[in-house]
């Protein structure tokens, strides 16, 4: 069953928290407008890490995405929504 945007955001927060507990405050308060690099402090490796974690946890297969393809968390949610269809 396809997840709603809110459910996707919640799952993403869980993934990000398991990835880096040090950023708990930032992750718990992040929104769809949060910028991955500037606000969440993502590097190219942490971006790919997130994609792999989403694939494993949510069963979604990403295409050949690059680290520059997502600017905000909302972009990731859009992509996941699109892949769920």
């Amino acid at each position: 069953m396809a997840l709603s945007r809110n459910e996707i955001i919640t799952r993403l927060r869980d993934i990000l928290l398991s990835a880096d507990e040090r950023k708990r405050d930032i992750i718990e308060n992040c929104t769809e407008d949060s910028r991955l690099t500037a606000d969440l402090g993502f590097s190219s490796v942490s971006m790919l890490y997130m994609v792999i974690a989403i694939e494993e946890d949510m069963g979604i297969r990403f295409g050949d995405v690059g680290t520059n393809d997502f600017e905000t968390l909302g972009d990731v949610v859009d992509y996941i929504e699109e892949r769920q269809k």
Partner: protein
């Protein structure tokens, strides 16, 4: 240490014809010229590398890929290189040598998948984690992508330190470290701080090899 990927690449294949031809024809003059002295960190490091593994080395000059091939001479290497090389006139050679292009400005999932598949198939993937040539004498910080690659390919990481001579005609010194099994160290999926910690440990290991190399 148990490695997960122990498949062997064939002794002869048309796919590797150019690679093997160049390795044989250029290898002997190269050996005579550089006279590599290969040393090992310990007994475990002397053991031949079987199956998929990530080899990493410091990057001091243009010939380093050849030096890494001298270090692990009994295996074919697939080097990770900048995608700009694949857009140059020399792209034919890079393709024939099985190099894997990576976009350094926009590292993509496709490259990571190609690398992890190569490791799963039992290939040796060689990388220079400093990212570019660094002849300052001090090791630059390592990119942590190397750890992600090894984790995805479920492969050990083998540190190699290269110490070319001051002059082009000086003897080459190579120090090979013990393979590092990061899979058993992490257990399940590691966190980003763990990946960064492993990267820092690999940097420390390279520093140790540098000291041993003299």
């Amino acid at each position: 240490m148990e490695q997960e990927n122990k498949k062997r690449s064939p002794l002869f294949s048309l796919k590797y014809l150019v690679y093997d031809f160049v390795k044989i024809t250029a290898g002997l003059p190269g050996l005579l010229w550089f006279r590599p002295r290969i040393r090992y960190e310990n007994e475990a490091a002397k053991k031949r590398i079987r199956g998929g593994a990530v080899i990493f080395a410091n990057h001091v000059g243009f010939f380093d890929p050849i030096f890494v091939m001298f270090a692990v001479w009994y295996r074919r290497h697939r080097f990770i290189c900048s995608k700009e090389f694949f857009e140059s006139k020399a792209r034919w050679w890079f393709k024939r040598f099985g190099c894997i292009p990576v976009d350094r400005q926009n590292f993509n999932l496709g490259s990571l998948r190609t690398i992890s598949e190569a490791l799963t198939e039992g290939c040796l993937v060689s990388i220079f984690p400093e990212g570019s040539i660094n002849d300052s004498g001090a090791l630059a910080a390592f990119k942590s992508g190397m750890v992600l690659m090894a984790l995805q390919g479920k492969a050990p990481i083998v540190p190699v330190y290269l110490r070319p001579g001051k002059h082009f005609y000086n003897r080459l010194h190579i120090m090979i470290g013990e393979p590092i099994d990061i899979i058993s160290r992490c257990g399940g999926r590691p966190s980003m701080p763990q990946i960064e910690e492993i990267t820092a440990d690999l940097h420390r290991k390279e520093e140790e090899l540098k000291l041993l190399a003299g």
